[in-house]
């Protein structure tokens, strides 16, 4: 009888565990499924809207990607998006060019030169910086950087340079924190053996530390560029938004994000003007895929 009871008890307990386990598992699978649904529906909707420029409105793909004339409302509308694509690339590359050396220096400062208080000083500031909303960056850019550029350089202050500077400050934290992580993960004995060979700190940094952590640093730079490429409001506020490939750094230009921000509300869904904006959103999305792909490649190299 006692045995029986224990057996029964045992059985029910197992069942309870099983049920719990089952519910837990189902819930988790549901959550994961949601992630998959989210991405599939996003890709599907942006794709289907994005290609309608070419399918429904019969804009030729090469006209869209290589056309330099953007005049969607004209009597003979043309949908050349090259100025925006070029604008996005130029501002992103410039921002990365400005931010990368600064970030790498900041990371070296925090990990190699004064690891103690350097980290205490910079870490919170960098974290905070990554939390500042992009509209605030735009606001500061418009009230500080633009007037400064206008007074110092030719042009109106508004333009590619202002956009790149604002973006570079925005991506500083991303690059810095990834680089810091990479530098701190470096085995200590690597550095020590370099010093033991009589190398100075700079020689160690330049010949040992940077080369070994290069893929990781590049990962940070690419992540930063991904952020810069997709940033909308801050850039739109300072870049000037003229639909042309800029001839100088201080000339007004547009990015993919800025033209979407400006045009989306003013156009009706389904019109060619609106569809062309969706095509640009599609370009942004494909670029995201590309950035993630590059990051993956770099990570693979790091693993070896």
């Amino acid at each position: 009888m006692l045995n029986n009871k224990i057996a029964q008890n045992h059985k029910s307990r197992i069942e309870k565990h099983h049920i719990e386990d089952f519910i837990g598992r189902s819930y988790m699978s549901f959550c994961v499924l949601l992630l998959i649904v989210a991405i599939i529906s996003m890709v599907y909707f942006v794709m289907s809207k994005g290609i309608s420029t070419f399918v429904v409105d019969k804009v030729s793909v090469s006209d869209f990607f290589f056309g330099t004339k953007w005049s969607p409302e004209g009597s003979n509308p043309s949908f050349g998006a090259l100025p925006f694509i070029a604008g996005s690339f130029v501002t992103t590359l410039l921002a990365a060019l400005i931010a990368s050396p600064l970030s790498i220096c900041a990371a070296l400062f925090m990990t190699e030169i004064v690891p103690g208080w350097g980290k205490k000083l910079l870490q919170p500031v960098i974290e905070l910086l990554s939390g500042i909303p992009s509209v605030v960056y735009g606001f500061v850019g418009l009230s500080v950087i633009v007037p400064f550029l206008r007074n110092v350089f030719p042009g109106q202050g508004i333009g590619v340079a202002a956009g790149s500077i604002v973006l570079s400050v925005m991506i500083l934290p991303t690059i810095t924190s990834v680089t810091v992580d990479a530098l701190s993960a470096l085995p200590q004995n690597l550095k020590e053996s370099s010093f033991a060979l009589g190398a100075t700190r700079w020689q160690t940094i330049a010949r040992v530390i940077i080369p070994t952590t290069l893929p990781a640093i590049l990962t940070g730079v690419v992540l930063g560029m991904a952020r810069a490429f997709g940033e909308a409001l801050a850039v739109q506020m300072v870049i000037g938004n003229a639909p042309f490939i800029p001839k100088s750094l201080f000339e007004s230009a547009s990015t993919l994000t800025s033209v979407i921000t400006l045009g989306m509300g003013n156009t009706t869904m389904g019109s060619p003007q609106n569809n062309s904006l969706w095509s640009m959103a599609l370009v942004l999305m494909l670029m995201t895929f590309l950035f993630v792909f590059i990051v993956r490649l770099l990570e693979k190299r790091r693993a070896i």
Binding site: M28, A106, S134, V169, A199, W202, A281, M285
Partner: protein, 298 residues
């Protein structure tokens, strides 16, 4: 000798650039805070904005930002926990797991404007939720969820393996181990991560312009019935958040003190993010201490 000089110069450059960054950041923060602080008062934080007269506040916007944050976290935390635990404890390494990880990575790096457009098309128009807090929260979910997944996964992975093994040795089921052994240990890291990610939700604007709307209907702060249209708690009303408000008054503001309001609102936004950061550290440490010190056998 030459190597030493080079070393000195290089160190000098690195230190200068690092300090330059500190100076730029300090200047940036100082600029935002000093320009905005003078405009911040209790009245500014609680009163409603004015359309053409001076003296408007950001009360409803501040409330909307916080409420939207709560809504978003209500959606993302349970889902993020589920998917994150799955990734950390259940997923077997393989193609599917790799694919899910890729999805998380891609979702979290989507430009917010693309997420906003997607929200406008699917949530606002096709599902007919209109410009509303729910639409905004769902759009924010798209990039907050992958963040939560990653935070949870990392938190669970950093739990020492012995704890899990001890659980197995006691004959506990996997689910029991996850909920009673691993979860409490992972909790501080999850909470810290959640609060930090909340900062991003709080400052988001581009995605919300197209989903949560740029208008704020009159709110009756004595009406707490979530079904009533004028209730602040109604999730189906349009809501302009603080970040969107900065964008709007910067561009369309008719009030004579629009610039000061933008400065004040920016400062409020930055201070809130600051508070989030400090709170994340403090709460994380507090819970960690509590859980590790008071853990006893029952």
């Amino acid at each position: 000798m030459k190597a030493r000089t080079v070393d000195k110069i290089a160190t000098g450059i690195i230190v200068t650039l690092a300090l330059l960054i500190v100076a730029v950041l300090a200047g940036l923060l100082g600029y935002i805070l000093f320009r905005g602080m003078s405009h911040i008062s209790w009245d500014f934080l609680t009163s409603a904005p004015q359309k053409i007269r001076a003296g408007g506040g950001v009360g409803p916007q501040l409330f909307n930002s916080l409420f939207l944050l709560v809504l978003t976290l209500l959606i993302t935390v349970p889902l993020g926990l589920g998917a994150g635990i799955y990734m950390a404890e259940y997923a077997r390494p393989g193609r599917i797991t790799g694919f899910i990880r890729l999805i998380v990575e891609v979702l979290s790096s989507f430009p917010s404007i693309v997420v906003g457009l997607f929200g406008l098309l699917l949530i606002v128009n096709i599902f007919g939720l209109g410009f509303s807090l729910v639409s905004g929260a769902l759009a924010l979910t798209v990039f907050n969820l992958p963040l939560m997944v990653r935070i949870t996964e990392q938190a669970f992975r950093s739990v020492p393996a012995q704890q899990k093994e001890a659980g197995f040795a006691l004959g506990l089921s996997k689910w029991k181990i996850v909920t009673t052994v691993l979860f409490p240990v992972a909790l501080p890291a999850i909470i810290t991560g959640t609060i930090l990610s909340a900062g991003r939700v709080f400052g988001e604007a581009a995605a919300l312009m197209f989903t949560a709307g740029m208008s704020s209907p009159r709110l009756n702060f004595s009406n707490w019935n979530p079904l009533s249209p004028s209730s602040p708690l109604n999730p189906f009303r349009p809501a302009e958040t603080l970040a969107v408000h900065i964008w709007k008054i910067n561009s369309e503001g008719l009030a004579p003190d629009a610039v000061q309001i933008a400065a004040g609102a920016s400062a409020v936004l930055v201070i809130t993010v600051l508070i989030f950061n400090l709170a994340a550290r403090y709460v994380g440490r507090l819970i960690y201490r509590k859980l590790t010190a008071s853990r006893r056998m029952n």
